[in-house]
Every structure is written in C-alpha cells, then in structure tokens.
C-alpha cells in the first residue's frame, strides 16, 4: 500500500512544481540568489539597494523598452541549493542572467556552474580573490573589491608606521585565511622586516573572545590586523577594550568600518582603528554617492549599508549591460560586460575590466571614531583599486586560459 501512496505523493509533488503562473512576457528578468534568511542582516540592505535601482531604472523607461525585473530566491547558504535555483531560474523562469551570493563558496559554485552551462553570472558581493583570478572564467564577472585589494590598502598604511611585530586575528575559514595571507604578503613586500608573532583563528560567529584577547596580549605585538566581523567583532572589541589589548597599539580592521558591523557597536565602537568601510555620513552634497544616499534614505527610511550600495550598483550594472548589448542572449550580454562602463553610479563611472572581469569599485579607508554615541569613520578617502591590483601579466598568468 505504501507504494500507491508514494505514487500519489510523487505526482502531487510534480503537479505542485509546474510553474504557478505564466510569466508576464513584457519584462526582462534577472535571477538573484542569496542567503536572505541565513545572513538576513547583510542580505536585506542589499535587496533594498537593488529595489531602489530597479525603481529608478523602470521609472526611466526600463531597459530596451521593457521593465527590468529581479526574481529573488533564497538558497539557505547552501551551494548545491544555489545551483539548483540557478538552473530553475534560467530554464524555467526565463531569466536572462543571474547574480547574487554573499558567501564566497556559494559564489564559486555558481561561477563554476555558469561556466559549464554558459549562463552569465555577476558575483556582486563575494570577496574571494580566486573568483576572478585562479578560478576565473569568461562567464563570471565580479563587482566588489576583493579581499586582496582591501587588505593591500590596509597594508600600505601599516607600512608607514614603526610597528614591526604584528598579530592577526581572523575567522577560521577561507575568507579569513585569504585576508591574512594577503595582508602579510603586501606588508612584507613594502616592509620586509616585519614579523608576525601570533595568528589567531576563532571559529566564525563562535569566538571565545576572552581567550583570543589573552592569546594576542601574550604575544606582545606592536600592531594587530583584525578580520573578524559581525558578532565576533562585537565580542572581540568588548573583551579587548576591557582588557586593554588595544592600548598603545595600531589596529587595522578589514571591513570593520562597514555600517553593518560598526553600527551595532554603538558607543563601544573601537576608536583609532584604520579600516575599510563605507562612510556614507561623510558624503558631501553634489557627489554621486550623496545622491544615492539621499535617495536610499528617502525610499527606505533607513540609512544605507555597504550591502545597499553594492545591490544598487549590481542592478545598475546589469541594466547598463543589457542596454549596451541591445539583446538578452548570454553571448551578447557577456560581450557587453567585457569593458562595460556604467554611468552615474555612487562612485561615478564604474568600469568592468576586460582582463579579469573585475569591476573598478574600490574601497573607502579611514580611521574609526565615536561621534554622538555612534561609531564612524573619519579622515577617510575613497581609493581606486588600480594601484593595489597585481600587474596585468600576473593576473593573466593566474587566470586559466580561456
């Protein structure tokens, strides 16, 4: 009897899976796959940024005379699930390309899938260097400045100080290890005499902050390179502040200045750290960034995060590519993305390099401070990634032959 039930169940399931509604044929669809639940704190501002850009694009007449539409799907942070959804978006929902993912490993899985199935993937948020370099492929483009570039910006500042003994603390997974390697390599290049006296590897989002701070203190470093973020950062800053770890030491923080991580810290935000981040509050009237910030605040009633600006530029990039291609087939879009210029983004004109499909989005670097009970970045500047990218020969050597 069980098998009869099984048949019924299977057919019921199959019925349930046929597309619920016919698509509205008059819009151009783009798939967006992300960890909306698992990383809600990062994914929500990103989604709002996309929605703002879509609203503006469609009020402006859409792309190729049609409205641009995103289909948002949750992959639970699971690479296999993400691939399945990408397949569904492309073959069933008729999306012309897809984008998304915050976690690098999901981005890598999607990128490998894109190359194999010849679909176009714009990796908006994942930071892993390998995505456009060692594991790069013609069908994957990436928007955000990679780990290497952001770490190199911090290393450049570190090399100007007297500090010789460095300690590092980074979450125990690929992003953390990659960031520490990049910081070390860049700093050693600029200042060969530095030595690294301690490397701490707390488990991601499960830091034992007291023990980590004690271990760092024990190594007596001159300066500390921090890669922890989110709740780990909050605990690390609290324990480190209480126990005096940061007194008299330079601290460099990768992504520490991003509002996602700095805002929850309130008046306990660290002061005097040199960090990469997103100082939207410091934008002056008239620059493109300020226009974005105002529009975002007005639309959502919230202040922007780094995810917001990345989401916004993702939608802008895709709209620009479709306009440039004049068509929506993958090859036309891919050719359009090569060397694409996107006008009027929050950083001005955004460019996608032909050599490695990486965009020209840089990073904001500055020093943290507490103003009005809130952590902010001061003395910041926006840095273009060009000076921190390996030479064209090195990049070409790293990328697999196309």
């Amino acid at each position: 009897m069980t098998l009869l039930r099984r048949t019924l169940l299977a057919s019921a399931a199959a019925l349930a899976l046929t597309p619920a509604a016919a698509f509205a044929q008059d819009s151009i669809k783009v798939g967006e796959i992300n960890h909306y639940k698992r990383m809600a704190a990062f994914a929500e501002p990103y989604k709002k940024g996309i929605e703002l850009a879509l609203k503006e694009i469609n009020e402006d007449g859409g792309v190729l005379g049609k409205p641009l539409e995103f289909i948002f799907r949750d992959d639970q942070g699971d690479p296999a699930e993400a691939i399945k959804i990408a397949e569904e978006l492309m073959t069933r929902d008729g999306t012309v390309m897809f984008t998304g993912s915050i976690l690098s490993h999901v981005g890598l899985a999607l990128s490998s899938f894109a190359a194999e199935k010849k679909y176009l993937y714009l990796a908006s948020e994942p930071l892993a260097d390998t995505l456009v370099w060692k594991s790069g492929n013609p069908y994957t483009f990436r928007l955000r400045a990679s780990t290497w570039i952001q770490a190199a910006m911090l290393a450049e500042q570190a090399a100007t100080t007297d500090a010789v003994k460095y300690a590092t603390i980074a979450p125990n997974y690929a992003y953390g290890t990659e960031a520490v390697e990049a910081f070390k390599a860049n700093l050693k290049m600029l200042k060969p005499e530095v030595e690294f006296v301690a490397e701490q590897w707390p488990a991601l989002f499960n830091i034992d902050a007291g023990a980590e701070v004690q271990a760092l203190e024990r190594a007596k470093p001159d300066a500390i390179f921090n890669v922890t973020f989110g709740t780990d950062l909050a605990k690390f800053v609290r324990e480190g502040g209480d126990r005096g770890l940061f007194d008299g030491r330079d601290v460099y923080g990768l992504l520490t200045g991003e509002p996602e991580y700095l805002e929850p810290l309130g008046d306990e935000a660290p002061e005097g750290w040199f960090v990469t981040g997103f100082p939207w509050y410091g934008f002056e009237d008239g620059i493109p960034g300020k226009i974005f910030v105002d529009a975002y605040v007005e639309e959502t009633g919230e202040t922007p995060k780094i995810g917001s600006v990345v989401g916004y530029m993702t939608a802008q990039s895709i709209a620009a590519a479709i306009e440039k291609a004049g068509a929506t087939d993958t090859e036309s879009l891919r050719m359009a993305f090569e060397g694409l210029d996107v006008e009027n983004t929050p950083i001005g004109t955004l460019h996608y390099r032909e050599i490695d499909n990486q965009s020209s989005l840089g990073a904001w670097v500055g020093t943290t401070a507490v103003e009005d009970g809130k952590g902010v970045m001061v003395n910041w500047e926006y840095k273009d990634p060009a000076a921190y990218t390996p030479s064209d020969e090195d990049v070409s050597a790293m990328r697999p032959a196309e």
Partner: protein, 619 residues
C-alpha cells in the same frame, strides 16, 4: 603562572552560561527522553527577550530583574510549545520528537526575525561591572568574576531542587523509570511540561547572562547547540554534576586551545568528546542507557514482508513513469528529480541502519560528503577520468564507514549517535581546514561528468538507474537473512547473541553498507552539481537525512524515500515565500502531530482502518 590563572578564570567564566544551558538540556532529556534540538532556540529567545526587557528596566535592579524575568517569560513560552507540539507525540517511536523540535527551531527563527529584525543587538553592560579587576597583575573583566561566583550558587540551587524537593524526587524517579512514575499516579503530563519549561528557562537564563559579554543575534541558536550537546554527552545524559564538570572541562580546554593551538577552534570539543566516549561510553557521570526499558514505545512493529503482486505492479508503474519523464518534462524537472533521487538514496541508506538496525546516526553526512569528496579530489588533483573517480566514491565512503563504525558500534542509543556526530565533525574539519588538499571552504569546483554523460537527460538516466538500483539493493538486503539478523540485534541483542548472531559484527557490516550507499549518492551528487563544499559534510546535512527518515516513518520500508521526496518537494516550493521557514516549520509540526508514525506508517494505519482487518494481512 599569573597568566595561566587568568586563562583558567576566562574558561570558568565561559563555563557559567554553557553550564546553565546544558543543565537545562540534560534535565529535559533525563525526564522526557526528548533530544531537544530546539534548546538553542530558547537560548536565543532568552538573549532577545533579555535585551528587550533591559531596555525598559533601568539600572542595576532592572538589569538583574530583567534576567530573572527572561527565564519566566521563556519558560512560559516553552510550556506552551511543550503542550501544543510535544504532548501529542510522546507515544510516538523513540527520537521521533526530535523532528518536531526541528520544526520548532524553524518557527522560532522566523518569528525572531519578524519581531526583532535582522540586525545584531549588542547586549547592555551590567551596571557597575564594566572594566577589569587585576588579579596577580592580569586584567580580568569584573563581569567574568561575577559569573564565576554565581556558578556554584546555580549548581547548589539545582542540586537542592533535585535532591531536596518533591519536584526533584519526581524528576529523579522519572529519569530512572518514567513508566513506573506514571503507574504510581503522578501526573506525567504536567511533570513533563514543568521540566520542559524549567529546562528552557535555564537556557534562557544562559542567553540573558551572556548579554554583557556579547549580544543577541539570529545565529545564536545553531552556534550554541553543538557545544551544549557535547557538554551534556561528555557529562553523561541526565547528570547535572556531569554537565557541570564537562562545561568547565570544555571551556577551560578551549581557552588553552585558543592560545597554544589557534587552528583547533573548530574541532577541539568534538575531539574531546570522541576521546571521552571511546574511554567511557556513557560519559563521565552517566549511567548505561536502557532504551525502551519496558519494550519499545508505541505500537509494536508489524513484521515486514516483500511486496505482493499489487505492490510490485505499483513499483513498476512508478518506475515506468520516472523512466518516461524525459519525454514529457522540461529540463528543470529532470534536474529537480535528480536532486530528489540523490537525496532519497542518501535517506534510504540512513534508514537502512536506523530502521532495521536501530542505529541512530547523527553523522551520516560524513559518508555522503566523504564519497563526494573522494571522487572530486581524484578529478581535481589527478584528472582521473570521471568513470573511475565515480567508482571511488562508494568505495572510499564504505572504508570510512568501516573505520568510524569500528569505534561507534560499541556504543548504543544517544551515545552512539553523538560519537558518529563527533567523527563526522572530524571529517568535516579535515575538509574545511586542510586547504592544501581540499581548498577549504572554497571547495572543489569544475567536477563535471564525462562528455558522454554530460546532459540533463543522460545524467538523469544515470542517476535513476543507480539511485533506484541502490534503494532496491538495500531493500533486498533487508529481506535477506542478513536483514533478519540485523533486526534481531535491534530488537533483542541478548537473544540474538544467544542464537549465535555476532550482533556487533552484523551492525558494523550494515553500517559499512549504509556508508557505501551514502557514498554512491555523494558520487552522483558531485557530478550533478559540478562542485563540492564542506557544507555537504555539515551537521545540518546529517540532520536533513535524519528528519526525512522520521518524517517518512522509521518503522516502514519506504519511509526514507517518501520522506525525502516529501521534504524536498515541499521545501523547493516554499523557499520562494518570504517567511518560508515559518511555514516549513509549521508543516513539519503538523505532519508530526497528525502522523505520529511518519507519513508512510500513518497512511498505512489509516488504510488498514478504512479497509478493515482483511487488508491488515495483505500489507
């Protein structure tokens, strides 16, 4: 020396919250025998409720008052959860309740997101306790000292409650023999509700007390649950002093691990647990677990038999439908069916040892992911042809299962489950941290099938043949003498041994066969997806399989397959909703309450009732 002492204090301070949460879980397990995965959710609720209350209640009185209130609020919520979700299913097969608690996790996650939003909350500082005291010159946060000072009082209060009060007498009696307690006229329902509420309140207090050291966020529930289970198991399930010793042991070892072996943060506690369980199979202070002391819970299992003519015809018809699918379905339906078939084979392999062998494994993903990695590593590093690498997947997984099984099968029940969990975490950490070999969580990518197989339709048939073949082989083994020996060992190890069956060896072989089949599923998986990541080895992956087996029905033969099909389809359909976890959680809870024998088991009972006793014979 001063430094060591300061480190020791850090460990003790960490142990305080951990002990509170773990003691709650231990109490709940001891009395109700529920493996409560949702315990971490009550810890998270405690943190969020605590933060919210502290915003309203100012000052030191407000701070400590908020903590006390948090326990009461969450205890009340837990009591409601127990009455609505768990009370209807105490008579269900053993461990079935863990599926319900999984549903509770999903519901609480989405509700917390709705109520408190996505942003992390920084916990308020304890008034007057910011900063450090110097002990032998080393800075020690004031709040750490308070936590350390509080722990003995908490332990004493719990000890008093358990040994000196009437409630304690009942709890201890129920821990030893809950059926006898019921027979003596104690209202079990209220005892269970009370203990569940108390245990959850302890978790909430743990969540609220850690606020000044951290905060509240939506990942807390999963982050603590591993450590809590480890502590409870090392201490011995149901033992409060054991939980205390284990909490201190794990916390202190962790602190030293961080300093002297910084890379060890991911696995240290699982290594400790594996060592303790290998030396002391019931934890430090636990006693031998006698599962189902008065026979198994629930209705006795009906004898299994091969399908009759009608059953075979239905199976054949179903297979024909699947074989004809490529002619009628679009490409995505094939991809989705491939996913479901892979998951069904994986679930069937777990169901094989769980249903017929009574071996509840919490670490079955080690063999699925192990097989996937074995094939992927060969392709990635040596460019082995796909056909050869593919064969290596079940082989390697089988060998891995033999090795792990050799350690695990000497244990039973929850301890067996936890040791398999520990080993699967070790396998996971190898994949995660040995970056030179496995590329860590960057994963192995570009693992695509050989050209002749590389197309949705051909790969669909490849999957169909192997997955269905694997499932049929497993069914055949269950009906073979080996299957009878395996079930004999499950139902009555002593009698089975008296009959000359080497129970442990039969179990080990079954464990290895399940490993081979899980590895086969992993092999199909890796070439279907083109990549493999440590996520395939995660605890969550093991639990996915566990949940569908229970959902489908442990005491049936088709349970794993049906459960896998059901959950994959429902999940695939629901994830496009905004609050899909809430809906999925409610669906799971509903299925659990309405079908306490699992989908297949309950439908079978229903069918039997509808058609009367005649078909009782024919099923």
């Amino acid at each position: 020396m001063a430094f060591f002492f300061a480190q020791f204090l850090t460990g003790l301070a960490n142990a305080a919250a951990l002990f509170l949460v773990a003691s709650g879980l231990s109490l709940i397990f001891g009395v109700t025998r529920i493996v409560n995965f949702a315990h971490g959710s009550f810890y998270m609720l405690g943190a969020f409720v605590g933060v919210t209350l502290m915003e309203f209640l100012p000052g030191a009185v407000g701070f400590w008052g908020a903590i006390v209130l948090t326990g009461l609020v969450v205890g009340l919520i837990a009591a409601v959860v127990e009455m609505v979700v768990l009370r209807p299913i105490y008579r269900a097969p053993e461990l079935f309740q863990l599926v319900a608690t999984f549903g509770v996790i999903l519901v609480i996650q989405d509700l917390a997101l709705m109520i408190w939003g996505a942003e992390d909350r920084l916990g308020p500082r304890a008034p007057g306790l910011r900063g450090v005291w110097r002990i032998f010159g080393e800075p020690v946060p004031k709040y750490d000292i308070i936590l350390i000072a509080m722990t003995p009082f908490i332990l004493f209060a719990l000890w008093y409650l358990i040994t000196r009060t009437r409630l304690g007498v009942l709890v201890r009696a129920a821990t030893q023999d809950r059926e006898m307690v019921g027979a003596l006229g104690v209202n079990q329902a209220w005892l269970f509700t009370g203990v569940f509420a108390l245990g959850s309140a302890l978790a909430a207090w743990g969540g609220a007390l850690q606020l000044p050291k951290g905060g509240a966020d939506l990942l807390m529930d999963f982050n603590i649950i591993g450590a809590v289970f480890v502590v409870v198991v090392i201490g011995g399930m149901g033992s409060l002093p054991g939980a205390f010793i284990a909490a201190v042991l794990i916390s202190v070892l962790n602190v030293f691990g961080v300093t002297y072996l910084p890379q060890s943060t991911l696995v240290l506690m699982f290594v400790v647990m594996a060592i303790v369980l290998i030396i002391r199979p019931y934890g430090l202070l636990g006693r031998e677990e006698v599962a189902g002391e008065h026979g198994q819970v629930g209705a006795p299992e009906t004898p299994i038999r091969p399908y009759g003519t009608r059953g075979r015809m239905v199976v054949t018809a179903l297979l024909l439908v699947l074989a004809a699918l490529p002619f009628v379905a679009d490409q995505f339906l094939l991809i989705l069916t491939i996913d479901i078939l892979i998951f069904a084979l994986f679930a069937a392999s777990l169901h094989f040892i769980l249903g017929s062998g009574g071996l509840v494994s919490f670490g079955h993903a080690a063999f699925f992911g192990g097989g996937a990695y074995a094939a992927a590593l060969l392709v990635f590093h040596t460019d082995t042809p796909m056909e050869l690498a593919f064969l290596f997947a079940p082989l390697a997984a089988g060998l891995l299962a033999l090795g792990i099984g050799w350690f695990c099968i000497r244990l039973s029940g929850v301890y067996f489950a936890m040791l398999t969990l520990a080993f699967s975490q070790l396998v996971w950490s190898v994949a995660f941290q040995w970056r030179g070999l496995t590329r860590g969580d960057d994963g192995l990518i570009n693992i695509w099938p050989a050209p002749w197989l590389n197309g949705p339709v051909t790969y669909y048939y490849f999957t169909l043949i192997l997955a269905v073949g694997g499932i049929l082989v497993l069914r055949h083994i269950i009906h073979a003498p080996f299957g009878y020996a395996l079930r004999a060992g499950r139902d009555s190890p002593r009698q089975a041994e008296a009959m000359g069956i080497d129970v442990k060896r039969v179990q080990l072989v079954a464990f290895a066969i399940a490993g081979v089949m899980a590895g086969l599923a992993g092999g199909i998986f890796v070439f279907a997806k083109g990549s493999v990541f440590p996520t395939e080895l995660e605890i969550a992956k093991s639990f996915d399989a566990l949940i569908v087996v229970f959902l489908g029905g442990v005491k049936t033969l088709a349970g794993g397959v049906v459960g896998a099909t059901f959950l994959s389809s429902v999940e695939h359909w629901l994830t496009r909703l905004e609050y899909w976890r809430l809906v999925l959680g409610l669906v799971i809870i509903a299925v659990v309450i309405l079908m306490p024998e699992g989908i297949v088991g309950s439908l079978r009972s229903l069918w039997a009732r509808v058609t009367g006793s005649k078909s009782e014979v024919s099923k």
